[in-house]
């Protein structure tokens, strides 16, 4: 009987995993992760004791679209870290599919650009799957709750103009953080952008 219930539980888990494949929606709790940073140290959300929230950015080396946003992600960290919302960048791509996104190349890029935020590798791709990230760049703004858990407040693009940072009309992520800090609702809390598909492992 015990075996059957265990099997049942396992099946339920599998089903649950299948149904939640769509990833996080605004309002969902975001689970913590522990991933390797370019300095070889592990980074978890729980490490950010004093943060009011975290800006999780799925990005990568190779994607020309992500490249257009490189300096804007750096600016975002400089500006928002002071307000309690640091950037945590995660590369979800499989280096076997896209060699430019190898850990060594991530280290090189972070060093060359002088990244002021962690640049983590999601080797199992489980974090990207859990979040429901599909492309790079893909941003999740998380707000820390009183019980130190994190809630998703915004999902989408960094701003409304990938081509030209100077022609941006709406800075979605900045606005989201400012609204959270002001205790106002985040609008829009979900946006879309063109991007490179995540390079999933070939099964």
């Amino acid at each position: 009987m015990k075996k059957i219930s265990t099997l049942f539980a396992a099946a339920a888990l599998v089903l649950f995993a299948a149904f939640t494949e769509g990833g996080y929606k605004v309002g969902d709790k975001a689970a913590d992760f522990k991933l390797k940073n370019v300095d070889n140290k592990m980074v978890a959300m729980a490490d950010y004791k004093d943060a009011k929230g975290i800006i999780v950015v799925f990005t990568c080396n190779h994607c020309p679209f992500a490249k257009k946003y490189e300096s804007r992600i750096m600016d975002l960290d400089k500006k928002m870290k002071a307000k309690g919302f640091p950037v945590v960048a995660i590369s979800p791509n499989d280096p076997n599919v896209e060699p430019d996104d190898s850990f060594e190349n991530m280290q090189k890029l972070a060093k060359a650009k002088g990244y002021t935020f962690p640049y983590l590798i999601d080797e199992t791709q489980n974090v990207a799957k859990e979040y429901g990230a599909t492309k790079t760049p893909h941003v999740y703004v998380l707000e820390k709750q009183k019980d130190a858990s994190y809630v998703v407040k915004y999902i989408g693009a960094i701003d409304d103009n990938s081509d030209d940072a100077s022609a941006v009309k709406e800075k979605y992520v900045e606005n989201a953080v400012n609204n959270i800090l002001a205790g106002k609702p985040v609008t829009p809390d979900f946006t879309k952008a063109i991007g490179c598909g995540i390079k999933w492992k070939k099964s």
Binding site: C63, P64, F65, E98, T134, K135, H138, A157, D160, N161, S162, D163, D164, A167, K169, P188, T191, K192, A193, I194, G195, C196, G197, I198
Partner: protein
Amino acid sequence: MKVVFKITVVAFLFAFVCIGKKVDVVTFGQLQEQAALKNNDTLYVVNFWATWCGPCVKEMPFFEESSKIFANQKVKIMFVCLNSVKEVAGVERFVKAKKIQNEVFLLNETNPNNWIDRVDGTWSGLIPATVMYKGGEEVFFKEGDFTQVQLDETITNMNKTIINNIDQK
């Protein structure tokens, strides 16, 4: 022998000039008029790509091949490039170099939030992405790339299903 060589060179140059169509810069509204709003029995296959997108560039020859395979059927394939409008010259060079025969449009829109959902609500924005229309209605959408077999099967199926629907009316 020399003459043959000269003719070959001239023919080659001529072919090079003719092959590779001009890239039309369009707004999203203008693009819709090219495919989504066409109320006829042609299947419109619209592929979103960019020169910087590896998987897109890789699958473009499949679409070119499909347009040959379905040449005698009412199937129209078109490419919609999502490079920046500023890069139109580069896109034209690319289209020419790859000898692309299907029509190529360059989308003149800056904010994807104004049009991504109007293509398909489930589109996250990653490319490549392909949408198909028939009779003024969306019949298929997929984000991600195709193999040649998948693409040909999809075109065959989408073409069939809707013809049946029209017949029933």
